[in-house]
């Protein structure tokens, strides 16, 4: 799995070529370039650097990300991410299907915040068509989006534990996540990919037990966050593993286009829910947690705090969900977005999910581009991981909280 990958990569490259006067490189060339460096180094310092492949099948790459590592003993000198192992051509596919059908593709981008993806797509279409929504729709959307954020962070917490070598947090995180998926299943009919938020409203009205179940979940989950902290965050090994690891300063974070909890951990209080409120966020009170150093520990803290803030948002909204219709558009109607270009974005659990639509006025988009948070976030790893250990790399990868299909689209 590892050695065979390597063999193909070190072959003399023949895939590099020139196009329009520009040299187009290839993966082989990129790796070989690193290797000459390491030979020079070997002459100088007598240690020899070597390359290893991490992925595409590797337990800690959260799917099929491949990282080519230039290593010096245990130390990672250089990370070359290789993408595309789940590139499904979603943007091409989007040009062939109607606007209403687009929504369920967003489920399959960042599947851990599927509802927020649905929302981003629906609101992009609604904004382009200037559809007004009622308060009920907006409130329910906000509540389910925050529930999604919690479940996404729960999963992240568990997976971080697993990546650091503790299996138990993973199962505790999942145990509590199941409570949210049960609520989702009851209302939306799906556990992971729900296709719930539709242009013009919601696919179903909330289940009669929804409010009661959400309240039950909140009272169940509140003390558990503290338990999470005690079991995992307070643990000296975890702190040693995360503190001062993978530091990303605010300036490079912005330049790298990093968004979401990672940007906030670097000390930039950038949260679209606050800056450009959508849904009913403007009516709610919540804080935007920010970090100071920008290391993995800050990212851990920011996400833990975000879970608490999400709970407080839900608490503020759950008691008075306004009455009204759950759908304001006629469902069967085909959607035609007026001609023009539109870009709208939304804060998902991992950062800004932007949707760019170029419409020629027909039933299908002329061009659809998904600005996915993970694509930009991933590249921060080239800055964060260099100089660390393999163990650090795993912690950093986990603290970025990548979802590979979201990167590859």
């Amino acid at each position: 799995m590892v050695s065979s990958e390597m063999a193909s990569s070190v072959l003399p490259n023949s895939l590099s070529h020139t196009r329009a006067g520009i040299h187009i490189s290839s993966l082989d060339e990129r790796i070989l370039k690193g290797q000459t460096d390491s030979k020079e180094r070997a002459d100088r310092e007598t240690t020899q650097e070597y390359f290893v492949n991490m992925g595409p099948q590797h337990p800690s790459t959260h799917g099929v990300l491949r990282l080519v590592l230039r290593m010096d003993g245990e130390t990672v000198r250089d990370v070359i991410p290789v993408l595309g192992y789940v590139h499904r051509g979603m943007e091409k596919k989007a040009e062939y299907v109607g606007y209403r059908q687009q929504v369920h593709f967003t489920d399959r981008l960042d599947y851990l915040s599927a509802v927020m993806g649905n929302w981003a797509m629906s609101s992009a279409i609604e904004k382009a068509m200037k559809t007004e929504l009622n308060d009920r729709i907006e409130t329910i959307r906000t509540i389910v989006a925050e529930l999604t954020r919690i479940q996404s962070h729960q999963l992240w917490w568990g997976v971080l534990g697993m990546d650091l070598g503790a299996f138990t947090p993973f199962l505790y995180g999942f145990r509590d996540r199941e409570k949210i998926t049960a609520i989702f299943e009851e209302t939306m009919g799906g556990r992971l990919t729900m296709n719930y938020i539709q242009p013009g409203g919601l696919m179903f009205d909330i289940h009669p037990d929804f409010v009661a179940n959400v309240k039950k979940f909140i009272s169940y989950f509140k003390p558990l966050i503290e338990e999470y902290e005690e079991l995992f965050g307070g643990n000296v090994i975890v702190q040693e593993r995360l503190k001062n690891v993978g530091i990303l300063d605010a300036k490079s974070a912005i330049s790298l286009g990093v968004t979401g909890p990672i940007l906030r951990a670097s000390g930039v209080a950038h949260d679209l829910r606050k800056l450009e409120p959508y849904g009913v966020y403007a009516k709610t009170k919540f804080n935007v947690p920010v970090g100071t150093v920008g290391d993995c520990w800050d990212r851990y803290q920011v996400r833990m705090q975000e879970m608490r803030e999400s709970i407080s948002i839900i608490e503020q909204l759950i008691d008075n969900v306004p009455e009204g219709k759950h759908m304001v558009m006629k469902f069967g109607a085909k959607i035609r977005v007026p001609e023009g270009v539109y870009y709208s974005q939304m804060e998902t659990a991992r950062g800004i999910f932007g949707i760019f639509i170029a419409s020629d006025g027909s039933e299908k988009p002329y061009r659809m581009h998904f600005r996915t948070p993970n694509f930009n976030n991933l590249w921060a790893i080239t800055q964060m991981a260099a100089g660390g250990r393999v163990g650090d790399l795993v912690a950093i990868l986990s603290s970025i909280d990548i979802v590979v299909p979201d990167i590859d689209r």
């Binding site: 590892v2 290893v52 070598g165 299996f167 505790y172 643990n235 090994i237 650090d392």
Partner: protein, 370 residues
């Protein structure tokens, strides 16, 4: 085996299997050979049964730590799970990578199991059940347990896989480092009991176990031993050699089928050995729990056969190890070294020094006849 109830006044007499064989040899050589063969078969059976039980226990205990049930569907509460796993592993295709060093690849897992088997020799399970009660038992185990790491190194190197090699190197560095601390903490006990013979070490604890009999020093030595031994057998939080999330499967990445099963076996045997050592050195081995002058209590404790005492202590130790494994995350490789060289080793040395002072001054709790 446990028929005759020993009482307090009689000192424990240890008869090992090797002694029995040699005594029988004088009477009838054939019988001695048969006896020895039976012993070997018994040991192999015992070994595989122990490992299988341990695997099953670990899976069940881990499951309940994690609010789930664990194996349930193979036999009553999944009790036959380990048997199914073993059978499957034995019948699985045995892959040797093309580029691997075939002889070494074959030899490595055998070496691992061999080391564990050899270590098993010296441990006294009860006064009547020990393979060989040698007078340098402690030294023997320290030496033999070093052999296991050779197997891991060989396995990692011969697989011709970078992750394997990385895992093996980690294991090598880790085990050699932690050997120091483990030995230092063992030395404390050796110093107190004045012997390297396991049976004598156990007998020296008839008035109280070394973990509390030597004030503080014993406890510190025990804790150091706990940490160092967990590291020596590559269990979380020190499972760097096979850390899944970092090194895919570490040194045994390229192993499949029976050879992988051997590594698995060695891992759990090592857990058993380390726990037995901990129980023997610090918790009094097969010695019952005695508290000072509470004669009635002590007599009640004597009713429990020594073999059971030993098993209880070992299972306690093993449970502790499992508890650690299912609670803690893993350390990073440099932190691992830091913990050993900057924390455990200095404390170990100071502890040894204190132990020397204590031994010279003869200041023990429950001063006994040692």
């Amino acid at each position: 085996m446990f028929n005759s109830l020993p009482n307090l006044q009689v000192s424990w007499e240890v008869i090992s299997v090797s002694q029995r064989v040699s005594t029988t040899y004088g009477e009838s050589p054939i019988l001695a050979v048969v006896y020895a063969l039976a012993a070997i078969v018994a040991i192999i059976l015992f070994m595989s049964l122990t490992a299988m039980t341990l695997v099953y226990t670990e899976r069940k205990v881990a499951a309940h730590f994690q609010c789930r049930l664990g194996p349930m569907r193979v036999g009553w509460h999944g009790i036959l799970q380990s048997i199914a796993d073993t059978l499957k592993l034995l019948l699985k295709e045995d892959i040797v990578p093309d580029q691997a060093d075939k002889a070494m690849h074959l030899f490595a897992p055998v070496l691992c199991v061999l080391a564990a088997l050899l270590a098993l020799i010296a441990i006294p399970f009860s006064p009547y059940l020990a393979v060989s009660d040698m007078n340098i038992g402690v030294l023997f185990i320290s030496a033999v347990s070093g052999l296991g790491v050779l197997g891991i190194l060989l396995g990692g190197w011969s697989s011709n896989n970078k992750w394997s090699l990385l895992g093996a190197m980690r294991a090598g560095a880790q085990i050699i480092s932690y050997e120091l601390s483990a030995t230092l903490s063992i030395l404390v006990v050796v110093m107190f009991s004045g012997s390297m013979k396991f049976s004598e070490i156990v007998q020296s604890q008839d008035q109280g176990w070394w973990i509390w009999r030597a004030p503080v020093v014993g406890l510190v030595a025990f804790l150091i031993f706990l940490v160092a031994s967990t590291a020596e057998i590559n269990r979380t939080p020190f499972d760097l050699a096979e850390g899944e999330s970092e090194l895919t499967a570490g040194f045994h990445t390229e192993y499949s089928g029976m050879r992988f099963a051997f590594f698995f076996l060695a891992e759990y045997l090592n857990l058993f050995i380390v726990s037995s050592m901990g129980a023997t050195l610090f918790l009094g081995g097969w010695m019952p729990l005695h508290i000072g002058n509470l004669t009635f209590f002590n007599q009640v404790m004597d009713l429990i056969p020594p073999g059971l005492w030993f098993a209880l202590k070992v299972s306690g130790f093993i449970f502790l190890s499992m508890w650690f494994r299912w609670t803690f995350p893993r350390l990073r490789v440099d932190q691992l070294m830091k913990l050993e060289w900057k924390v455990l080793l200095p404390i170990g040395f100071i502890n040894l020094l204190l132990a020397a002072i204590l031994t010279l001054s003869g200041f023990y709790f429950f001063p006994g006849n040692s």
